[in-house]
């Protein structure tokens, strides 16, 4: 694979005595889209949290742009160029839409994304810029969450369940904007329950099952049978 942006090497993760990830390895090429699928509790969110530094891991278990970052705290990982759109959006409720976006850009990492470009990508947010974040619809809140992560100008954007709890038409609308993000050279890792949606945009797919990689490969080579076998361990 050319130009390995992110490498996860034999990653284990624990919550107390419970082991959530076993020996997980994956690679993300610069500018590519990787989908991580799997059933509830398979460890998808844990994987993203480890990459983003929200959970500590072995130093060399996560290598980003050639540098081991597994032991770095979240705020350093963002500075290095990895941004997470957390599950459930997690906007700052006491901040306005624009303030939420500005918080994302607080580090002033140089790059293509500015407030104006976020408003180009999601024009509705420009209209709602002064409103408190919780007053927006679910889809609009998801746009703010994505915009907020983009404001840090990441080389790698991690999206955790961005379709969760949204109407299908809204999900299609949000997924339609993803190519514009990749076009600027940002690589994407998408964790998704909606497999059809995920396969449509992804170059590569990893399927997690009970904390282990059960299936990995190019998105085009994935058949319904292979996925369902990896999903349910049939």
């Amino acid at each position: 694979m050319p130009d390995r942006l992110l490498e996860v090497r034999a990653l284990d993760a624990h919550y107390g005595d419970f082991q959530a990830l076993f020996d997980v390895s994956m690679t993300v090429a610069a500018g590519s889209v990787v989908a991580v699928i799997g059933a509830n509790g398979a460890g998808k969110s844990t994987l993203l949290r480890c990459i983003a530094g929200a959970m500590p891991s072995r130093r060399d278990a996560i290598v980003f742009g050639g540098n081991p970052i597994g032991d770095q705290p979240a705020h350093r990982v963002v500075a290095a160029g990895i941004a997470l759109v957390p599950e459930g959006r997690r906007l700052f409720p006491s901040l306005s839409v624009e303030e939420n976006l500005l918080i994302g850009g607080q580090l002033r990492r140089p790059g293509p994304w500015t407030l104006a470009r976020i408003y180009d990508l999601f024009p509705i947010l420009a209209e709602r810029r002064r409103q408190a974040a919780p007053s927006l619809s679910g889809g609009q809140q998801q746009m703010v969450a994505i915009g907020r992560a983009l404001m840090s100008n990441p080389k790698l954007l991690l999206c955790d369940e961005i379709s969760l709890g949204l109407a299908p038409i809204v999900v299609r609308d949000i997924y339609a904007r993803l190519p514009a993000i990749v076009a600027d050279g940002t690589a994407l890792v998408i964790v998704e329950q909606d497999i059809v949606q995920a396969l449509k945009v992804a170059d590569h797919v990893y399927c997690l099952q009970e904390g282990r990689i059960a299936l990995a490969g190019e998105a085009q080579t994935m058949t319904r049978e292979r996925i369902s076998a990896a999903y349910f361990g049939a």
Partner: protein, 289 residues
């Protein structure tokens, strides 16, 4: 009638000082949910620091703010970074215990260094200057300056919280600490900045206290109580609520003292209990989204 008006005016001016006790408390509770039991003793510490600065440099107490404020802010940053950050977590008890211990340590260290004697800072001629506002009423220039300083501090904090990048970071961290980290904010640093700001306000409050009245190492805990009461009366919604809370306590104390000198403190506590009974969320509660 004029006598009562005078009492209320004095109470309002005193309330400015209480509002400053409260502002520093409200700020750190708002940002990191830390209840600082040592807050009152830090006010007294600031007063003693001012005493040393005034004697060493022979400057006016108000000028000493230029030294005392940065000194206390630096102390706040170090205190948070080296000690208090380690106590923060899901459990509210460790920060309570540690700041309680800190309170005991500060009191005894001050007692050791400065003895139990009452001290006061002398601001010179300005202390006895007054303005006649008609009807035979006069207000002291110094209390007026103190109240104006309190309003400026509160307005400054309000502006900082809602108009600056640092304030935005404070509010985001207060909303959701883990996600704030994901946005590149280092909580340890943000918390330390909040404590530095809190102790900068404490420094102003301490110097004003020291000019206004006698102080000794043991008076900290009572200042903490006044501050707490002002915060709770005001509600945690806005800094202006804190000012209102301080003024209410100040007026209640002044009116109480007017009725019977022994009712001074009691009246303040009763006003607090009445507000707590009628509006437990305070007068200006935080609007929940």
């Amino acid at each position: 009638m004029m006598e009562w008006l005078n009492t209320i005016i004095q109470g309002v001016l005193l309330g400015g000082l209480y509002a400053m006790f409260a502002a520093g408390l409200a700020l750190i509770f708002g940002v990191m949910r830390l209840v600082n039991i040592a807050h009152g003793d830090l006010i007294v510490l600031a007063a003693f620091v001012a005493l040393v600065v005034v004697e060493a440099l022979s400057v006016n107490p108000l000028t000493s703010l230029l030294v005392v404020v940065p000194l206390m802010a630096g102390l706040g940053y170090a205190l948070q970074r080296l000690l208090l950050n380690r106590t923060l977590g899901d459990d509210l008890l460790p920060p309570l215990l540690v700041t309680f211990g800190l309170s005991v340590i500060i009191q005894n260290a001050l007692l050791e260094l400065f003895t139990a004697d009452s001290r006061k800072l002398n601001a010179g001629q300005i202390e006895i200057a007054s303005l006649h506002i008609g009807g035979g009423l006069a207000v002291g220039v110094l209390p007026l300056i103190q109240f104006a300083l309190a309003v400026m501090v509160i307005a400054g904090l309000q502006w900082l919280f809602y108009r600056t990048a640092l304030g935005r970071a404070f509010r985001a961290t207060s909303d959701d600490q883990p996600v704030a980290q994901l946005m590149g904010l280092n909580n340890a640093h943000i918390f330390a900045l909040a404590m530095a700001l809190s102790l900068a306000v404490v420094a102003v409050a301490g110097v004003l206290l020291a000019v206004r009245a006698n102080f000794d190492p043991s008076i900290g805990p009572a200042r903490l109580i006044f501050g707490f009461e002002a915060v709770i009366i005001g509600g945690l919604g806005s800094m202006w609520g804190t000012l209102a809370g301080g003024v209410i306590i100040g007026v209640a104390q002044a009116v109480g003292a007017k009725l019977d000198p022994g009712w001074n403190l009691l009246a303040g506590h009763i006003a607090f209990l009445i507000v707590l009974a009628l509006r437990p969320e305070g007068l200006f509660p935080k609007v929940q989204g």
